[in-house]
Amino acid sequence: AQTVTQSQPEMSVQEAETVTLSCTYDTSESNYYLFWYKQPPSRQMILVIRQEAYKQQNATENRFSVNFQKAAKSFSLKISDSQLGDTAMYFCAFMKRGGAQKLVFGQGTRLTINP
């Protein structure tokens, strides 16, 4: 079975700062995907960024980027130039590749961006 661990229950930074959220996972699978989702107080889970495990290049989406270390089973999220709208719960998730598999989520990190 796969497990995902987010070791930072809460984080808080000032607007415009850069923040990194940690995520580690455990799996014996070689073919999988990793995701970061955000869940603002309104509750809708929104995709932030995704990474294919077989790709060495780290994914980027505007201000969001990941540091994917496959051997270390680490998948951290970096948010640059943080904005008030980035305030949310952030979930790291693992999914086996192939056949519409389930997402396995971490416990989440509550991120607060202060003005």
């Binding site: 995701f35 809708q44 889970m45 995709l47 590749r97 389930k102 997402l103 989520f105 416990q107």
Partner: protein, 117 residues
């Protein structure tokens, strides 16, 4: 393009009462998922469908929970009878289905918050 639609958004019931949640996935998405999210935790899968077939319901408490996806589009999740511990958020997600990450990415609805008194 419309996202995943869920209703109701909120539901308050007394224990032992039945309750049902409805989900309409993104148009063209073949795979549909129901997740349970307890307060302060990540979602956990209850059941997933490929078209109208339930391909993984191992985490669904079948003594009180049931689900269906008629015609491979909309889905309904039911609890009967509800217990105090069922208070949580019930999330529906859908994906296109296919071999690429774009097709396997899941998109979520707003969820239904259930409170059992």
């Amino acid at each position: 393009e419309a996202g995943v639609v869920q209703s109701p958004r909120y539901k308050i019931i007394e224990k032992k009462q039945p309750v049902a949640f409805w989900c309409n996935p993104i148009s063209g998405h073949n795979t549909l998922y129901w997740y349970l999210q307890n307060l302060g935790q990540g979602p956990e899968l209850l059941i997933r469908y490929e078209n109208e077939e339930a391909v993984d319901d191992s985490q669904l408490p079948k003594d009180r929970f049931s689900a269906e996806r008629l015609k491979g589009v909309d889905s309904t999740l039911k609890i009967q009878p509800a217990e105090l511990g069922d208070s949580a958020v019930y999330l529906c997600a859908s994906s296109l289905g296919g071999p690429a990450i774009q097709q396997e990415t899941q998109y979520f609805g707003p969820g239904t918050r259930l409170l059992v008194l």
